[in-house]
Amino acid sequence: MGTRHRQLGRDLLRRALLPAAAACAVLLAAGCASSSGGTTPGGSGASGSSGGTVDIGVATTLSGPFADYGTAGLDGIKLAVSQINARGGLLGKKVTVVSGDDQIDPATGETVTRNLILNDHVAALFGSVSSGVAAAQEQIAGEYHVPIFFHIANDAGLTTKTFNKYAFELSPNTDMEPAAAALAFAKEIGHGPVRIATITPNYDFGIDTVAAFLADLKKDGVSYTVTDQQTPALGATSFTSQLSALLASSPQYVFVGQYGADLVTLTKQGLGLGLFTKAKVGAMYDVEVLQALGAQAPAGAIAWDRAPFWTGSSSQMQAFVTAYKAAYGSYPSEFAIIGYSAAQAWAYGVTQAKSLSADSVVAALSGATVPTVRGDITIRSCDHQAEVSEATGTVASTVSPSYGVRLWNPGAVSPSPAELIESCS
C-alpha cells in the first residue's frame, strides 16, 4: 500500500512537478523580458520618445490572402517616415516604424496592438486591413489614449458605432465608396429603367456595399429592377456557377463587390462566359488588379479606386510615385498612397501641436485641413472622417504610355466629398 502511494506520488511528481517548475521558469523569463522592454507604464498618451527618437506602430495584416494590402500600407508609411527623417525628423526627433502582423485575426491584432503600445510606447498607431480587427484596435487605442489612423479598413462603423476621439479614418468609408460607384453607374445609365444584377462577397463589407449602392442609385434618380443577386463566399476559387446564373437573368448592368484576388478570378471566369460583352460591369479595378490581369483587363468596364495615382497631375503625386517605385520596385496601390497620407496627417498634427502628446495631436487634427499627396484633406471634427473622394472611370483598352500598364481611360471623375457623405449634424 505504501509502495503504491510512493509510486503514485512519484508519478504525480513527474507529471506535475517538472512542467510546473518549467512554467515558473518561463513566467519569470517572460516577466523579465517584457518589463525590460519598456519600464514606464502607459499613462495618458505616453509619447514613446526616448532620446532622439519616436516610434510609431503599424499593426496590420502582413501574411495570408490580404498580405498585399497590409504590406502596401506599411510601405507607404515607411516611405513617408524616411522622407520626414531626411528633412530633420519631427520636432527634432527621428521617427522609427515598428510593425506587427495581425494575421487577420482580431485576437492576434489585439495582442500586437497592445504590445506596440505597452512595450514600444508608440506615439501613433496605423491600423489593420480588416474592419473586424480595426474595431478591436480602435477600442484599445481609445483605452490607452493613442491616436490611431485607419488607412485600409474603412467600415463606416469605425467612425460611428465604435468611434472614440483617438481614431481617424483616412479612406472613403463604406458609405462613400458605394456612393461614388452609384454616381459612375448613373452617369452611364441616365435615368433608366434598366436591369441590374449584383455579385458581392458574402460578408458584412460585401453585403453592406451592395445595399448602399442600390440605395444611392435610387437617390441619383435611376430607375431599375434587380434581376439577380449573388453572394459567393469571400475567397472562392470559382464564380462560374454564380456568374452563369447571373447572366441567365439578362442584366444590362452588373455591380461587382469583389476586390483584389477575387476580382481577378471573377474577371477571368467572367470573360470566358461572355460577361463583359453581355452587360456593363463595374468593380474596383485598381492598379493591382489591372496589373495582374494584364491583357485580360476588361476594356470599358466601370472602375473605382480609393486613390489612383495616375488620374491627377499633381507634382507631389508624381514625385511620390517615382520615389515609391525606386524604393519598392512597383507602382503604389491606393493602400500605399492612403497609408502615406495617413503618416503625413499624423506628422502634420504633431507639427501643428508642437507636441507628441496624444491629446494635443488629436485636438490639432480635429477639423484641420491637412496638405497631403492626395491634395488638401479636411478631417471632420465630428467623426474624424477625412473628407476625401473616390475616383471613378472606365478601364482603358490600351497600355498607358507613361506607366506600361493598362489603367483607365482619361476623363476619370472624382466626385466632391460632399456628394458622397452626409454632413455632420
Binding site: 512519484r10 500586437v112 460578408y203
Partner: protein, 373 residues
C-alpha cells in the same frame, strides 16, 4: 533533492503546483501591463489546451474541432449580452453548460468513427459553425464579431480580470485533474492503450469517450468565456479549424502525456508568438520549424524532455539517506515498471534513446499500431 522528494511523497497535492499558482497570483505586482495581459491570455489558453488534452493525451481522441466549444463559450457571453442584456455572471455559468450539451450532441455523432475520421469530422463541425456564425450576420454580428461593454465593471480593472482568469482557470484545471486521475480517467487511458482489451473487460467504451468529450466541451467553453474577458469581444475566428489546432499544438509542444504539459505548451507558445510577431516577419516559418523539430526529436514535448532530463539527473545523483535510496530505487522502478500513463511511452522512448535511429522508432510505431489494431 532527496528530502524534497521525501516531503512531497507523502502528500497528495504537488507542492510545486501550489508554488506556481502563488507565483502567478503575485504577477500583477511584478509584471508590466503588457506582460500581464500575455500571461492572462496564456492562462486561458492553458485551460483550453488541457481540456483538449483530456481527449488527446488521455483519451487518444484527436479532435480537431474543440474550437467549436471554445467559440460557443465565447459567443454565449457575447450574444446573450447583445440580444438579452444578460449579466456576465449568469452567462459565466450558462456557457460551459451549453458547451457540454453541444459536445454531447457532437460526440453522439462523431464518436462512432475512429482515429482519423474522428479528427476530420470534428474539424468539419468546427468549420461548419465558423461558416454559419460568419454568415448569420444579424444574429451573430457576422465576420466582425461582437464588441461592446459586455463585461461587468468589476472585470474592467486589469488586476481583477487577471485574478478572475487565474481563479477560474485554476479551478477548472483542478477539476480536470481530478477527472484525469479518477478511475474514470484511468479507464479512459486504458481504452486509449488498447480499445479491444477494454471492451473485452466489459468497459462501455462509447460511454466513457462520450463523457470525456462532454467534459472537454464543458471546459473548452469555459476557456472561451475567459477569452472574452481578455479580448472584450468575440469573433468567428474562434470557431475555425486553425483555432482548434492551437490547443493541439500546445499539447504536442508542452507534452501530451503529462497533465500540465499542455499548460506549459500554452505558456511557451504565447511568449514565443509575441517575440516572433514582433521581431520576425517569418513567424509561420519559425513556428513550423519548431513544430517539426518537436515531432521529430521530442514527441513527448517539452515536459517529456524535462522528464527524461529529470530522471537522468535522479539516476546520476542518488540520495545518501536510506529513505533517499529507496526513493531513488522507487523512481527507477516506477520508470521501469510503468505506473500510470505516459510512462510506457517514455519507457520505450528511453530504450529508443539508447539505440538511436529512425528504424527503432518505426519499429516501435509498428508495434504500437499492431497492439492498437
Amino acid at each position: 533533492m532527496a528530502t524534497f522528494l521525501a516531503a512531497v511523497r507523502g502528500r497528495r497535492a504537488p507542492a510545486a503546483v501550489v508554488a506556481l499558482i502563488a507565483a502567478l497570483a503575485v504577477a500583477p505586482g511584478a509584471l508590466s501591463q503588457a506582460a500581464l495581459l500575455n500571461v492572462q491570455d496564456a492562462i486561458g489558453l492553458a485551460l483550453f489546451a488541457c481540456a483538449t488534452n483530456l481527449l488527446i493525451g488521455y483519451g487518444g481522441l484527436v479532435s480537431f474541432g474543440q474550437g467549436a466549444f471554445y467559440g460557443i463559450g465565447a459567443y454565449t457571453v457575447a450574444l446573450a449580452w447583445m440580444h438579452l442584456n444578460t449579466s456576465f455572471w449568469v452567462t459565466l455559468v450558462a456557457a460551459p453548460l451549453l458547451g457540454a450539451v453541444a459536445a454531447l450532441v457532437v460526440g453522439l455523432l462523431a464518436l462512432r468513427t475512429r482515429q482519423l475520421y474522428f479528427a476530420l469530422l470534428t474539424l468539419a463541425v468546427s468549420q461548419l459553425l465558423y461558416v454559419i456564425v460568419q454568415q448569420q450576420e444579424s444574429f451573430t454580428g457576422g465576420a466582425d464579431g461582437v464588441f461592446g461593454p459586455m463585461l461587468p465593471s468589476f472585470l474592467l480593472s486589469s488586476g481583477n480580470a487577471y485574478w478572475f482568469t487565474l481563479a477560474v482557470a485554476a479551478g477548472g484545471l483542478l477539476l480536470l485533474w481530478q477527472i484525469a486521475r479518477s478511475p474514470f480517467g484511468m479507464t479512459l487511458r486504458a481504452i486509449r492503450e488498447n480499445r479491444e482489451r477494454a471492451e473485452a473487460l466489459g468497459v462501455n467504451v462509447f460511454g466513457h469517450q462520450l463523457l470525456a468529450f462532454t467534459f472537454s466541451g464543458f471546459f473548452c467553453a469555459l476557456a472561451g468565456v475567459l477569452s472574452v474577458v481578455w479580448a472584450q469581444s468575440a469573433n468567428p475566428n474562434l470557431f475555425s479549424w486553425t483555432e482548434s489546432g492551437y490547443p493541439i499544438f500546445m499539447a504536442v509542444l508542452g507534452g501530451q502525456y503529462t497533465f500540465l504539459g499542455p499548460a506549459l505548451g500554452a505558456l511557451i507558445y504565447e511568449q514565443a508568438r509575441d517575440v516572433l510577431l514582433a521581431s520576425f516577419s517569418d513567424s509561420q516559418l519559425v513556428f513550423g520549424a519548431v513544430l517539426l523539430a518537436i515531432i521529430l526529436a521530442a514527441p513527448d514535448g517539452v515536459a517529456g524532455l524535462l522528464g527524461r532530463g529529470g530522471r537522468l539527473l535522479a539516476r546520476r545523483w542518488p540520495a545518501r539517506t536510506a529513505g533517499g535510496q529507496r526513493a531513488a530505487a522507487g523512481t527507477a522502478a516506477a520508470a521501469g515498471a510503468g505506473a500510470g500513463d505516459g510512462v510506457r511511452r517514455q519507457d520505450r522512448q528511453d530504450r529508443h534513446d539508447a539505440r538511436t535511429g529512425g528504424q527503432q522508432d518505426r519499429a516501435d510505431g509498428q508495434e504500437d499500431r499492431v497492439a492498437r489494431s
